[in-house]
């Protein structure tokens, strides 16, 4: 993958909404080059000085679009995502939380036949300290540097970043992949990006109980990652939140626990801990 995260021209879908306009301001302040935004029916308005268009296609008549950050409400998110995919936007970052799973299955289907990479939904986005901010990760708590963070949980992303900053350890990438059942980029996509980027010298992976993605990430680390990697899986003592009847219980039996995932990451060569605070303490 080319480095999609350094794309220049950024747009915001849902720019006139409460979250969209507030976050546009905060992204601009963090140095993001937001060239335009969309909200159907609101073309001609300005949000924080950024021109609003009806559609991505209208923006593309005048500009190249490299990245779209989506803040539209959940019930309209499927439409917004399909629009961005149809417009062939290289990187789409969906912050919206609460998108119905069946809507995401349809989006996923459209993605497989497209040139678009999706981060999210229900993701805090990505922050490249000192470069730009693509989402809602608080830039004030970051510091430019060479550590890369990938996490499933928004709050733990901020927590890890703020703790590193407090120690004077800067970050090259801070990426939240989102906790939804059906989502875009996963741990492996981010690990590949971090491994291939010569400016990254250390990787932090924050996972959770449920699913098998962290186990596959462990396999990937073992095979392909040579940089020092630190990993924490949240939920060593918390019971699984959602039980999908018998099918879930049967499928959830092996490998989905925090302990199993931690073991796998450890045997793949990562430094692990049973709490985030102790993991962060081990990073110097």
């Amino acid at each position: 993958m080319n480095n999609l995260f350094t794309g220049k021209n950024v747009i915001v879908q849902g720019i006139t909404g409460a979250h969209g306009s507030f976050q546009t301001k905060s992204m601009l302040a963090a140095g993001t080059n937001i060239i335009a935004g969309t909200t159907p029916g609101k073309a001609g308005q300005l949000v924080e000085g950024v021109p609003v268009y009806d559609s991505i296609a209208d923006i593309q008549k005048e500009h190249t679009v490299d990245i779209s950050v989506i803040f539209v409400p959940a019930r309209f998110a499927k439409g917004a995502l399909l629009e961005a995919i149809a417009a062939n936007v290289p990187l789409v970052i969906c912050i919206t939380e609460g998108i119905p799973v069946h809507d995401m299955l349809a989006v996923n289907e459209a993605l497989t036949h497209s040139g678009t990479t999706l981060l999210g939904p229900n993701s805090p986005g990505a922050l490249l300290p000192g470069v730009h901010k693509l989402g809602i990760i608080p830039a004030a708590m970051s510091l430019p540097g060479s550590t890369a963070i990938v996490s499933r949980s928004g709050t733990l992303t901020y927590e890890a970043m703020a703790a590193l900053t407090a120690k004077g350890i800067g970050q090259k990438y801070v990426i939240g992949i989102g906790g939804d059942m059906v989502h875009g980029m996963g741990f492996i996509d981010c690990l590949r990006l971090f491994q291939d980027d010569p400016d990254v010298d250390r990787i932090i992976v924050i996972g959770e109980i449920g699913g098998h993605e962290e186990l596959r990430a462990a396999d990937f680390i073992k095979e392909h990652v040579t940089k020092p990697t630190f990993a924490y899986i949240a939920g060593h003592h918390a019971p699984a939140g959602v039980q999908l009847g018998h099918a879930g219980a049967i499928l959830g039996s092996e490998g989905e626990s925090a302990m199993a995932k931690t073991e796998a990451l450890k045997s793949a060569g990562a430094t692990t801990a049973t709490s985030l605070t102790s993991l962060l303490a081990s990073i110097v």
Binding site: P100, V101, I136, Y158, A234, H236, P239, L244, I250, S278
Partner: protein, 354 residues
């Protein structure tokens, strides 16, 4: 949201999937006419009901009356039913397993089957699975008929697959599990029991009127006898807070994610719930505010202090959006803040054990 059996069967019937004839007996309401013999099933939002004595076969009016009283008074995993489902007694030839679900790892709808269904299904490991979008319903129905070794049921199974797919998508369901799928001695396929999980995120486009079975994913009791309650925002931070508390030698009673944008009222309600833990002696609050506003949390903490007289000591760490405002609100009420979770845990430990 997990549905009760009778609610799930209602949606199955609407989707033309055969379910046994039945009526609902509601608590405190005149009993409807029940055709005998019948199977009486307690409608509780939990599995393992059969083994726990929640299902009774009744042959006479006398037995029906007795079993009705018994089942309404019989808790299953601490849950009492609000209704009983009285169904026709089927002549069972075979019990099969069939489910359709959205799978997290494969980001796809998966059809899963086993040739032996029933209450021991958890012991099975060799389930057969198909990615639904790769095949037509006709091909899947044929594959099921081959797998179950029921060639004469091919057409019926093709219909079941087609209708299950429609039912899953139309209702925004994440899981439909039919266990057992009963083959009757007169060669009909009938959904003997049904579980269904609906996607709460899709509630805006449905008119759902269900009993709201199941537990809230955001409040889970870990240990009824725990001495430490935890409150955090975001599922990840809530889990991480519990993990860190255990590492520090505390015994967390619960996991609580107050989510984004929680109001003072919902937070206050959460405090009241924590007071039910008999051994509760400290409360750890760990907030990293993004969309959640730290000042809202601070107001709820002050309200809890005012309204709950025997509230145990609070150990609070707040960072993020509107932190300064939160710090002022708490300072005005003389409630101390600690700079890190580690310090909260250390102070709580001191309170508990020194």
């Amino acid at each position: 949201m997990n549905l009760l059996e009778h609610e799930a069967k209602h949606l199955l019937r609407d989707a033309s999937i055969p379910v046994p004839a039945g009526v609902l007996v509601k608590k405190g309401e005149p009993a409807p006419r029940v055709t005998l013999p019948a199977v009486l099933k307690s409608q509780v939002p939990t599995g393992g009901r059969g083994k726990a004595g929640g299902i009774k076969v009744v042959e006479s009016e006398e037995e029906l009356k007795g079993a009705t009283q018994q089942l309404f008074a019989h808790p299953i995993k601490d849950l009492l039913p609000n209704s009983l489902l009285a169904e026709e007694k089927l002549a069972i030839e075979r019990e099969l397993y069939l489910s359709l679900r959205v799978d997290r790892d494969q980001s796809a709808i998966i059809l899963m089957a086993h040739s032996t269904g029933g209450i021991e299904v958890e012991d099975n490991h060799d389930f057969k699975e198909w990615v639904v979008k790769d095949y037509s319903a006709d091909v899947l129905g044929q594959a099921l008929a081959d797998y179950y070794e029921l060639p004469e049921q091919t057409f019926a199974l093709q219909d079941v697959v087609e209708n299950l797919k429609t039912c899953l998508v139309k209702n925004d369901a994440l899981l439909i599990e039919i266990n057992p799928l009963i083959l009757t001695s007169d060669n009909r396929l009938v959904a003997g029991d049904a579980k269904m999980t609906l996607d709460d995120a899709a509630a805006f486009r449905h008119d759902w009127q269900f009993e709201e079975a199941g537990s809230e994913a955001n409040f889970v009791t870990i240990n009824e006898q725990g001495n430490t309650a935890t409150i955090a925002n975001g599922a990840g931070l809530a889990m991480a807070t519990v993990d860190a508390a255990v590492d520090a030698g505390l015994h967390p009673a619960n996991f609580l994610d107050i989510g984004g944008g929680a109001s003072t009222e919902t937070l206050l309600a959460a405090f009241h719930r924590l007071m039910d833990y008999p051994q509760l002696r400290v409360i750890i609050i760990n907030i990293f505010a993004g969309i959640t506003r730290a000042d809202e949390v601070a107001r709820a903490i002050v309200a809890a202090r005012q309204h709950i007289s025997d509230l145990p000591p609070l150990f609070i760490r707040i960072a993020g959006t509107n932190f300064e405002e939160a710090a002022e609100i708490l300072a005005a009420a003389s409630i101390p803040l600690l700079p890190t979770l580690d310090e909260c845990l250390a102070a709580a430990k001191k309170e508990l054990y020194e």
